[in-house]
């Protein structure tokens, strides 16, 4: 029997957290860029699921996980472009477009699964080549860190690097500064010479690419398979992370880690006979609690509603 401390801080839980957070972090960091341009989007489930399919297909065709990831990125880009076409060019309501795309993606990937692989439900094949874990010699000597951080696949590291790079781009470069102004005051940004439409498209493109990476993690992290609805709500988790963090990549990553951590805990706790339905609620309850704590200073006993943005 493990001690509670062992479960909470053990390398097992944390290395699982490290991996599980990867797709959510990648997607939410990408979505943060889009968020700052003021384009509302909840279609992450669509991007991730489609990307997962194309990652599997690409890897299957070429035998290379890198090519698979490239496929996934292209799929993410394409879908972001479709989203952008509807929302930016056709002025469609982004919420409807998002919801429609989420369900459309499920139908399309399932259909493609039948059409291309002739199977239903899932497609598993050793020809879908996975990323192999990377052994970083420096980490090998450090006991705990080695178990948590070492021997993960490249996407895991990319996710965490993307948080740093994303933050730097967002807060230290002219590009990021201009991008952020759009969400605050669109006309203002225009008068500052920012080509709004261009930046919105760039925001969408970053979102597409990153969601593509996030989706690619799912089939290529060792599973060699694609299954229907493989994204399993991770797109919504990414959306929640973006919303809660208000588009700050670091905060978005922290929320993603919270989701992943609470989920990782359940894998150990499930062996203690706690009903899995209760464990499944964990991440969601955690996010509500975090929001409540984060909003404690807003707590007012006489309820007043402010118009939300």
């Amino acid at each position: 029997m493990m001690t509670m401390l062992g479960i909470l801080f053990g390398s097992v839980t944390w290395s699982a957290t490290f991996r599980l957070s990867t797709p959510i972090i990648l997607t939410s960091v990408g979505g943060s860029f889009n968020k700052h341009t003021g384009v509302f989007c909840i279609a992450f489930e669509c991007f991730m699921l489609s990307a997962a399919f194309f990652a599997a297909w690409g890897s299957y065709l070429t035998g290379s996980p890198y090519m698979g990831t490239l496929f996934a990125i292209l799929a993410g880009l394409l879908l972001a472009a479709i989203f952008g076409m509807f929302v930016l060019n056709f002025k469609a309501n982004p919420m409807i477009v998002s919801i429609a795309m989420n369900f459309g993606a499920w139908a399309v990937t399932t259909l493609l699964l039948t059409e291309i692989f002739g199977v239903r439900g899932y497609f598993h094949s050793p020809k879908i080549v996975n990323f192999s874990p990377i052994d970083i010699p420096v980490l090998r000597e450090i006991p705990y860190i080695n178990e948590v951080l070492n021997n993960q696949i490249i996407l895991v590291y990319i996710a965490y690097i993307s948080v740093v790079v994303g933050t730097i781009i967002m807060y230290k470069t002219p590009f990021g500064l201009r991008l952020r102004t759009i969400g605050i005051n669109e006309i203002g940004a225009q008068t500052a010479g920012v080509n709004i439409l261009k930046y919105k498209w760039i925001g969408l493109a970053i979102m597409g690419i990153m969601s593509g990476l996030g989706g690619a993690y799912l089939p290529l992290s060792g599973l060699s398979m694609f299954s229907e609805n493989m994204s399993s709500g991770r797109g919504f988790l990414a959306f929640a992370a973006i919303l809660v963090s208000k588009g700050n990549p670091v905060k978005a990553a922290l929320i993603s880690i919270l989701f992943a951590y609470t989920n990782a805990l359940t894998f150990t706790l499930t062996s203690y006979g706690i009903p899995s339905q209760l464990l499944q609620m964990f991440p969601f309850i955690a996010v509500i609690i975090v929001l409540m704590i984060g909003n404690l200073r807003n707590l007012s006993l006489t309820p007043v509603i402010e118009a939300s943005e």
Partner: protein
């Protein structure tokens, strides 16, 4: 007022016509690509949805839930509440209806009413959670309702399996996670034999008509509309924002719960875990496609229910997969979401610019 209705109705008609046209074109391409004849497939869809009394009955069964979720979403979005949690509220309502339905004995009719009432109230109470979080903690309900959907599904499953069934076999020995079957007295009467079309359709229609009437003719409806469009304006006018916001949220939850209750008492007769997926999202789409107009919700629901029902028939009768219809449905939603007015205007003004004889608009 005449003017407004005409103008809006006209552009709405245009929008639906263009979208249906575009959807048909893309639908045909998709179906042809799958090696079927589009006309044949569409024929089966029509036949399956409205081709016989029985089919109509089954279509009605879908229309009921579409109407109710559409109403729930319309109320929320029209009143400025981002209730994404319809799905969760349906689950809570459904479970409550099932519990009342099997566990207590009441005279027929009364029993069903009790089930629906409790379902609605529980749905409403579940909506109260995000409402309070918004009121007291200022947490955007968009996140909380989304998250509470996931919680509701797990929670109802947990309650059904561990609390109601005690972690044991279901009553008839089956291994599904389901409550016992509700009593006959709690079941809604069927209106078309051999189908699940039940009197819930009248309840649902009544709900929508009430909603339509409410927003058009009542004070509270007026206030809610104003809140939905400009909260600060309504507050300035002395509208009790907090109360109204809460009211809209709760009514939305109430109708969602009712929807869950009707699903159980009218169609399933017992609560089964994960009995629906998408109903909540369907509602949001229906409401948005209808532009938050309760009367339009009725028409869109008929199309929606018909497509859902017809799709199954098409799948049975052809080699096509029902996924095609889901894709077609999504295309329809996407096309309806396009703002044709602004595109046409843009296009028109472009054309006008090209007119060579423009002289400063002097002769307009």
């Amino acid at each position: 007022m005449k003017l407004e209705i005409n103008g809006e109705a006209k552009s709405a008609m245009l929008k639906y016509c263009i979208s249906i046209g575009l959807t048909l074109v893309f639908g045909c391409i998709l179906i042809t690509a799958q090696g079927e004849k589009p006309l044949r497939a569409m024929g089966y869809i029509l036949q399956g949805s409205f081709g016989s009394v029985m089919n109509i009955g089954n279509t009605i069964r879908w229309i009921i839930s579409s109407l109710l979720v559409g109403a729930a979403a319309t109320i929320a979005f029209k009143s400025g509440v981002a209730n994404m949690g319809i799905e969760g509220q349906i689950y809570i309502g459904a479970l409550s209806a099932a519990v009342i339905g099997y566990s207590i004995e009441l005279p027929p009719g009364l029993h069903a009413i009790a089930c629906l009432l409790v379902a609605s109230i529980m749905g409403m109470l579940y909506a109260l959670i995000p409402a309070l979080l918004r009121l007291y903690f200022k947490i955007n309900e968009l996140i909380t309702t989304l998250v509470l959907n996931f919680i509701a599904k797990d929670l109802t499953e947990y309650i059904t399996m561990w609390v109601i069934m005690g972690g044991q076999q279901a009553a008839n020995g089956s291994a599904s996670i389901a409550t016992p079957r509700i009593l006959k007295s709690a079941q809604l009467p069927i209106i078309i034999k051999s189908t699940t079309a039940n009197i819930g359709i009248f309840i649902a229609l009544a709900v929508l008509l009430i909603v339509a009437f409410f927003y058009k003719y009542t004070l509270e409806g007026y206030e809610l509309t104003q809140i939905g469009q400009n909260m600060n304006f309504a507050r300035m006018g002395g509208v009790n924002i907090t109360r109204s916001f809460l009211m809209a949220f709760l009514i939305s939850g109430f109708i969602s719960g009712l929807c869950g209750g009707i699903e159980i008492t009218g169609a399933y007769y017992r609560f089964t875990s994960s009995f629906s997926n998408n109903l909540g999202w369907d509602g949001i789409m229906i409401a948005r496609v209808s532009n938050n107009n309760p009367i339009a919700v009725i028409f869109v629901s008929i199309i929606w229910g018909g497509l859902k029902q017809g799709a199954m028939n098409m799948e049975r009768m052809t080699s096509l997969n029902r996924l095609i219809v889901i894709i077609i449905q999504m295309l329809f939603v996407l096309f309806v979401s396009i703002d044709y007015d602004s595109i046409i205007n843009k296009w028109k003004s472009k054309m006008e610019l090209k007119k060579p004889d423009y002289n400063g608009g002097m002769n307009i």
